[in-house]
């Protein structure tokens, strides 16, 4: 299809370089003679040849599927999963990358072929972790599932427990859908990254359709987006849905409501001043750009006034949902819409006001528990863009281990590369007489988010996330236009290849501590079944799935670097009342990667725990362990009431507690977990290795007093009996099959 603007403007304007020479005087460079051109030319003679990319893609997916079974994500080290990827996986990646490249050789790729190859590409890049890991990954995803599960069970939120409950839109939607679907909220977790990536491709393609002229470049933008988006914010979360809504609102704003550069009056006056004009001319000349380039975007969609009115209402509806679902996405949307308005790129001149009002209103009304008393924390770094970026970019690059540094630098490299090639794409297109102000605003404006909100070290990642779609489209500008330049094609191909090669390092680099093993979940289920409500649970770091259910039942405290101290120091820092310690493989890796701790720190820490008479190992799986800290408070001097579980209950005749609301679908998909024998307290040194007897029987005794949840059905059977004194004793007998030698801890 011939692009509309080329029909409207068949003759290129006289463009001037800094030296004053007209660049349209030069004859166009010869089109690239691709070595693969016979594939497109032979389309009519051989009907199967155009489908060669599809065949390659299928072969790649087969190789990928065969390789995924050999991945061992729970043994990943500082490099992440990349050192564990088998050769067959790389073959699969090579094949699908080749398939995408081959599908993009024709100027107008076949829709079915290019869609098939891009689906395969997405599956290999973004489906590997989902396919390789038997349980969903990432502790934050479990927390989201836990919050949604709480709303599904109770129908209300807990904003005092966690600030994220104040933006509960996505959580309540998840809760409602999962209840109607009769599944656990964890059902969504495993394949969410792939599903979200595929969902993002719609607005990315729509954005490319609105700004690029050649079908090949539009599809190339989609592929670049897939290869460049290593940011790992596509797990099942409010921000994942927020990004989808963010992109869709912006696409509609520049497409159906696109402006043609008519800025607000004040802006026009500012730009018409002599100083601004001189600056503009000077900058363009320094960049060797023509002074009279024209808008390169497509004309705004023709639509009826009724359709535009309906779309306006729809956009306000989407913005409202976004405001209630996520904190930072509507702020970014507001900023970008404001800059689009300033640049005259959208006719929706008040949508940014509506968004800002929505953010303010929701923050004032429903999110009051979030900001009351924390204003300094929220607005403390507002305006300090430099320090925010230095903490989130350069701070991350400094790492304790070589592997981690490689991962961080690959991420910086990937991000830098896509910014670089996007800049080159804009420059080349501008040199040809076409500007891309829409994409420039969409890509650059999110940087202001860094100065508008206080979001800690993650803000650079979020900015990159918001900019990724327009950056991918800008990168595809390199190969946009009626004819291709050999150098541009070569640069584009090299950058694409580099992004693909960097992707496994950047994306899978956190897998050592972000993978949640089945053993971690089994230990969490043990805690749900045996640890009284209201107990304090000590962890090293929050890389554990403790919140995937029973939100609000436990208090969690991080031990931090106390774990490295001497036995006596650790003992003195542990609570004097009954508490629990929960250690997992993911926390071990977190300590190694981020804390710079020795590789055996967890084994050493556990040895110290075993030397304490009041600490006892009560549960151990292949990747996690649970310790009980007995109360050391003297009963005479400190009368501590038992945990209040069911108030106003008489002690003499304790009624049976009502069965807690248990999500019976929660454990359906959990795999079998090998549970190992916990060693008795004070049994001397603990090496961290385990017995491999064919069958082991573990008997654990729950603490007296307190409510005890139903043990999860996937492992263990047991009974519970209430004693006449109101305390309960639960004995759980677990018989587990033999398993492979467990890994650390």
């Amino acid at each position: 299809m011939e692009p509309r603007w080329t029909r409207r403007r068949p003759v290129l304007p006289q463009l001037q370089t800094a030296s004053g020479a007209s660049i349209t005087d030069r004859p166009p460079p010869p089109a690239v003679r691709s070595p693969l051109r016979h594939l497109t030319r032979g389309a009519s003679s051989d009907p199967l040849t155009p489908y060669a990319p599809l065949v390659l893609a299928v072969l790649g997916v087969v190789a990928w599927a065969l390789s995924v079974g050999h991945l061992h994500p729970y043994t990943a080290g500082a490099f992440g999963l990349v050192t564990h990827l088998p050769a067959l996986w790389w073959v699969g990646l090579l094949l699908v990358t080749g398939a995408v490249a081959l599908a993009l050789v024709p100027a107008t790729p076949r829709t079915t072929v290019v869609i098939g190859t891009i689906l395969a590409f997405a599956l290999v890049l973004h489906g590997t972790l989902s396919a390789a890991e038997s349980t969903p990954r990432f502790e934050a995803a479990y927390t989201v599932a836990g919050f949604a599960n709480y709303i599904a069970l109770h129908g209300h939120t807990l904003p005092r427990i966690d600030a994220r409950f104040s933006w509960f839109g996505m959580l309540s939607g998840d809760g409602m859908a999962s209840t109607a679907m009769q599944v656990s909220t964890m059902w969504f977790l495993r394949w969410a990254p792939l599903v979200f990536e595929l969902a993002y491709l719609f607005p990315v393609k729509a954005l490319a359709n609105a700004t690029l002229s050649s079908p090949r470049a539009r599809w190339a933008a989609v592929a670049i987006f897939l290869a460049g988006n290593w940011i790992d914010q596509d797990y099942f979360s409010p921000q994942a849905i927020g990004l989808l809504l963010y992109l869709v609102v912006l696409v509609v704003a520049i497409r159906t409501f696109g402006g043609r550069g008519l800025q607000p009056r004040a802006m026009r006056w500012l730009l018409s001043t002599r100083a601004m004009r001189a600056t503009r001319t000077g900058v363009l000349r320094r960049l060797y750009l023509p002074l009279d380039a024209r808008p390169g975007e497509a004309l705004p969609d023709a639509s009826t006034s009724r359709a535009r009115a309906a779309l306006s209402v729809l956009l306000m509806f989407l913005v409202a949902v976004l405001v209630i679902s996520h904190q930072i996405s509507p702020v970014a949307l507001c900023i970008v819409l404001f800059f689009l308005y300033l640049a005259g790129r959208t006719r929706l001149r008040t949508l940014w006001v509506f968004t800002a009002f929505g953010v303010w209103a929701w923050l004032s009304w429903a999110a009051e528990p979030f900001w009351s008393g924390h204003l300094t924390k929220i607005f403390g770094s507002v305006g300090s863009v430099g320090s925010t970026f230095s903490s989130s970019v350069s701070g991350r690059a400094v790492s304790s281990s070589f592997g981690r540094s490689v991962v961080e630098f690959s991420r910086l490299g990937s991000a830098g590369l896509i910014w670089l090639v996007a800049g080159a794409g804009v420059w080349i297109l501008w040199r040809r007489g076409r500007t891309q102000w829409n994409l420039l605003v969409l890509a650059v404006a999110p940087v202001a988010v860094g100065g508008a909100v206080s979001y800690g070290g993650e803000v650079a990642l979020r900015i990159l996330l918001f900019s990724m779609a327009p950056l991918a489209v800008l990168a595809a500008c390199l190969i946009d236009g009626p004819y291709l330049r050999a150098r541009a094609v070569a640069v584009f191909a090299l950058v694409g290849l580099a992004l693909v090669v960097l992707f496994p390092v950047a994306r899978f680099g956190n897998e050592s501590f972000e993978a949640i093993a089945p053993g971690d979940i089994a230990a969490t289920n043990w805690i749900y079944g045996h640890v009284p409500v209201g107990s304090t649970i000590l962890v090293f770091a929050r890389d554990e799935p403790l919140l995937y259910s029973h939100v609000g039942d436990y208090k969690t405290r991080e031990l931090g670097l106390v774990v490295l101290d001497s036995t006596s120091t650790i003992a003195s820092s542990l609570p004097h009342r009954t508490a629990w310690i929960f250690m997992t493989r993911s926390q071990l890796e977190d300590g190694i990667v981020f804390g710079g701790l020795p590789k055996d720190w967890l084994t050493t820490f556990e040895q110290k725990l075993h030397q304490m008479p009041f600490v006892r190992l009560v549960d151990r799986t292949t990747t996690a362990s649970v310790y009980r800290i007995s109360s050391r408070v003297h009963p005479v001097h400190h009368v501590v009431p038992p945990p209040k579980l069911h108030p106003t209950r008489p002690a003499a005749h304790p009624p049976k507690p009502p069965p807690p609301k248990v999500d019976h679908h929660l454990h359906q998909r959990l795999p079998t977990v090998h549970r190992v024998q916990p060693k008795p307290a004070g049994s001397g040194t603990h090496t961290g290795t385990h017995s491999t007897a064919p069958h082991r029987t573990t008997t654990t005794t729950a603490p007296p007093g307190g409510k005890v949840h139903n043990p999860p059905p996937t492992f263990g059977t047991g009974g519970s009996a209430a004693s006449p004194t109101g305390t309960s004793t639960t004995t759980t007998t677990t018989t587990v099959p033999a398993g492979p030698p467990p890994s650390a801890p």
């Binding site: 209300h156 009769q182 869709v248 609102v249 004309l299 023709a302």
Partner: protein, 149 residues
């Protein structure tokens, strides 16, 4: 793919100022509306009847997203670009159940199963109306009646 075909400047304009949709595009819209109505109706039946089935999660999810999304976007006269229409359908389809659940939480009237069934039923009905409309009068007028301003 019919939906992906973009309008061209010289496409035929009907005498009344509106532009007739090409037959293939109308067929695709009709097919999508019919599929959305069928999935939504099936989801509503599964939810309201309390049927436990391995297919229930998928049917209900597709019904909630595609059904509610197309029930809104299907009435808009948008330029026939599959990516554009698809992205809007997805966004609306995700947002409608979220908005309904927000209302349930804010009103402290948490009845997720019944409300989801009702939502699926309503979207099935609206999509059915779209099917009837596409079948009877050849669908809504396409974009371009007033042009871009």
């Amino acid at each position: 793919m019919a939906l992906h075909r973009a309008h061209t400047e010289d496409e035929g304009v009907a005498a009344d100022g509106g532009r007739r949709r090409p037959g293939s595009e109308r067929a695709v819209r009709l097919l999508i509306a019919a599929a959305a109505a069928a999935v939504s109706a099936a989801g509503a039946a599964l939810v309201l009847a309390g049927v436990t089935s391995p297919a229930r999660p998928y049917v209900v999810l597709v019904g909630l997203v595609l059904g509610s999304g197309w029930a809104v976007v299907g009435w808009l006269n948008l330029r026939p670009d599959a990516a554009y229409i698809g992205s809007l359908t997805l966004a609306v389809g995700v947002s409608v159940p979220i908005a309904v659940s927000i209302l349930l939480v804010l009103s402290s009237w948490w009845h997720p199963v019944g409300v989801s069934g009702a939502l699926l039923g309503v979207t099935a009905g609206v999509n059915l109306l779209l099917v009837v409309r596409h079948s009877l009068d050849g669908g809504p007028r396409a974009a371009g009646t007033e042009g871009a301003s």
